[in-house]
């Protein structure tokens, strides 16, 4: 669809705010106005902001649970297969399948797999690494990692109209409104 448009492509319209309360307020107002495809950027996590953008249930805890279970079964299975099937050795008369001795390694494998799933899962669901993103085209966006707060209404939103959306954002008393080029 994007190929049909003429350059410069517009990714969205960005409004800059000076404090977290203003951003949360603006995000709430934007949702009430009927915009769906919006995102907000802040230099630290703001719980209320995520709620204001519409709560999304994250699949990450499930990913971590599955990772942990896979690590647990694989760790125990490895030890069982090695000690009882592939290389059975009599150590001090202990049974080949001496399960209490297998618990520490099973535990470590569980933690390792769950932690790897948490980190890789978080990055994958967030779509990172992503070297290029249109918001970086706005010079003042560098302050999003310092002390400024940004709200973006994306052009793929059904209600998006560059002039009307800009005008709407101006009513939220931002410090500045910018068009984000793709």
């Amino acid at each position: 669809m994007r190929t049909m448009r003429t350059p410069p492509f517009v990714y969205g319209v960005m409004a800059e705010f000076e404090d977290p309360s203003a951003l949360v307020e603006a995000a709430n107002r934007t949702r009430e106005e009927g915009y769906q495809k919006i995102d907000a950027y802040s230099p630290f996590p703001i719980e209320a902001l995520h709620d204001a953008l519409g709560k999304h249930h994250s699949r990450l805890p499930l990913v971590v649970l599955i990772g942990g279970l896979v690590g647990c079964v694989a760790g125990y299975g490895l030890q069982y297969w090695v000690s009882a099937i592939a290389y059975p050795i009599n150590v001090g008369g202990k049974p080949f399948h001496s399960w209490p001795a297998f618990i520490p390694v099973t535990f470590e494998c569980t933690i390792l797999a769950a932690a790897l799933s948490a980190v890789l899962g978080m990055l994958a669901l967030n779509g990172l690494p992503m070297p290029y993103h249109p918001v970086f085209n706005v010079p003042r966006f560098a302050l999003a990692s310092r002390n400024r707060f940004f709200l973006v209404i994306e052009s793929r939103d059904a209600k998006f109209d560059i002039d009307k959306t800009r005008a709407f954002l101006e009513t939220l008393k931002p410090r500045e409104v910018t068009t984000v080029e793709d």
């Binding site: 630290f44 719980e47 769950a114």
Partner: protein, 466 residues
């Protein structure tokens, strides 16, 4: 559930409620916190003291490299180990280093779960300390093996010899525990760094800085949806790291406790080792934090509150360790076994009695001064006590390893252990490695989490419906 980084309570209120000094000095804003911490890396340049410290540490790294090279050429015979004391400095230092690492995980994971806001300004470099201490620790079992180039035999992989590791051995558990610990600590530290790497990317005055920090930040842009998943991941990692850290030193204590050697074969070892690890780790955090805050002028971020709290944690864990010493001796007596009974007797009166007396002095007697508020308020005194505890915890591992082994069941197999020049050179070399890595970290990465510091500022509080 994702409220890991931002405690719901008002930070200002938290300070007032508990009394005492604040966790961050008043008057800071998002901008000034960011600028102050990032300037150390980006614009303040390299101080002369940094060069002196780094060069000294780097010289010691070379001592380590020479020691290891000589070891590879000649074999472990260059060390003082022999029968009956086959585990000398290598295992003493291994346990000491890995114990030091544990405070980093405790501060970053357990205090996060307990919502202790004061952890924020010390967690980053405590985590870095963990990584570097684990690197030093991991080196010792490797070079102790005699043929370190065959270390990969410990990993279960299909091979032409048709052999597999022996999973009933605590030494194999150690391989899994320590490597998992190193991996999870690295991930935890790196995930914490991502938002700050983005800050450095956006603020770096040089192109090289923007490119390198930019690649490491992976395109982090602070989107609210990203933050949400980030916090879930961070909290889950903390929840996973908490049992992990307990398991690691438990497995390390199994290396001893599973053996039938009198003085090792005891059930108090796992909890007593974990408490000892936290004790020595907090001592090391204090040893590092006190000079760093003075040199880089970070007294506003690492306040007296942090130092006092760490002193209190040291006092508590020190008492647990003292209880461990007591129970160890009691159970030896209570067992009625003559070999077990001989161990504490020999520790107090035998050839290593001086070391044991020094251990009790360093770990049990002197730290009792921390009961006094005056002592906890004095930075120089805290620094001295922290160093004494570091020494004491090293002596503890020396006593456990050496005195238990040097008197075997048969008097014909009795012997003595004394370290050689190369034992000392390797040990001092790892201290150099630890410090060199720490200096590089202080110079190139933000030593305090900027994103978390912003979140505890009073202005971070969102007032809805105004």
């Amino acid at each position: 559930m994702a409220e890991g980084l931002v405690p719901n309570e008002d930070p200002g209120q938290a300070v007032a409620a508990s009394g005492g000094p604040p966790v961050i000095a008043p008057g800071y804003t998002f901008g000034s916190v960011t600028d102050k911490i990032s300037a150390i890396v980006l614009t303040r340049g390299t101080p002369l003291g940094w060069w002196l410290g780094f060069l000294l540490a780097f010289a010691l790294v070379n001592v380590l490299l020479v020691s290891i090279t000589y070891l590879l050429v000649k074999g472990v015979g260059i060390w003082g180990i022999d029968i009956p004391v086959g585990w000398g400095f290598a295992i003493v230092n291994f346990v000491w280093w890995i114990g030091i690492g544990h405070a980093g995980t405790l501060i970053s994971a357990i205090l996060l779960l307990l919502k202790q806001t004061w952890r924020t300004s010390i967690n980053r470099f405590a985590e870095a300390m963990t990584l570097f201490a684990v690197s030093c620790a991991g080196l010792f079992p490797l070079i102790h093996m005699g043929r370190p180039w065959l270390a990969y035999w410990m990993v279960p992989y299909p091979n032409t010899m048709g052999v597999w590791p022996q999973f009933r051995s605590p030494l194999v558990w150690d391989v899994f525990a320590v490597s998992t610990y190193a991996t999870v600590s690295l991930m935890f530290w790196f995930v914490g760094l991502i938002p700050d790497l983005a800050t450095l990317r956006d603020r770096s005055p040089s192109r090289a800085g923007r490119v390198i920090y930019g690649m490491l930040a992976m395109g982090w842009r602070g989107s609210a949806r990203h933050w949400h998943r980030y916090e879930i991941a961070y909290l889950l990692l903390a929840g996973l790291a908490t049992p992990l850290v307990v398991s690691v030193h438990t497995v390390v204590s199994f290396d001893f406790a599973i053996a039938i050697v009198p003085g090792w074969h005891t059930t108090i070892f796992p909890p007593y080792f974990v408490a000892g690890a936290i004790y020595s780790g907090f001592a090391m955090v204090l040893t590092l934090a006190i000079p760093i805050r003075a040199i880089y002028g970070l007294e506003d971020f690492i306040t007296m509150r942090h130092l006092q709290n760490m002193a209190k944690v040291m006092l508590v864990t020190g008492l647990i360790v003292a209880y461990g010493y007591l129970v160890e001796a009691f159970i030896a007596w209570y067992s009625g076994d003559r070999f077990e009974r001989f161990v504490p007797f020999n520790r107090v009166t035998g050839p290593y009695a001086l070391f044991y007396a020094a251990l009790i002095l360093c770990n049990v007697v002197i730290p009792q001064a921390l009961w006094l508020k005056r002592v906890r308020n004095s930075v120089p005194v805290l620094f001295v006590i922290a160093i004494i505890v570091n020494v004491g915890m090293w002596l503890e591992r020396f006593i456990i390893v050496v005195t238990s082994l040097h008197r075997d069941f048969l008097t014909s197999s009795w012997g003595m252990y004394s370290p050689t020049f190369w034992d000392w050179a390797t040990f001092v070399g790892t201290i150099g490695l630890f410090l060199a890595l720490l200096f590089l970290f202080l110079r190139f990465l933000p030593m305090i989490s900027i994103a978390e510091m912003r979140a505890i500022l009073p202005e971070a509080k969102v007032e809805e419906g105004r």
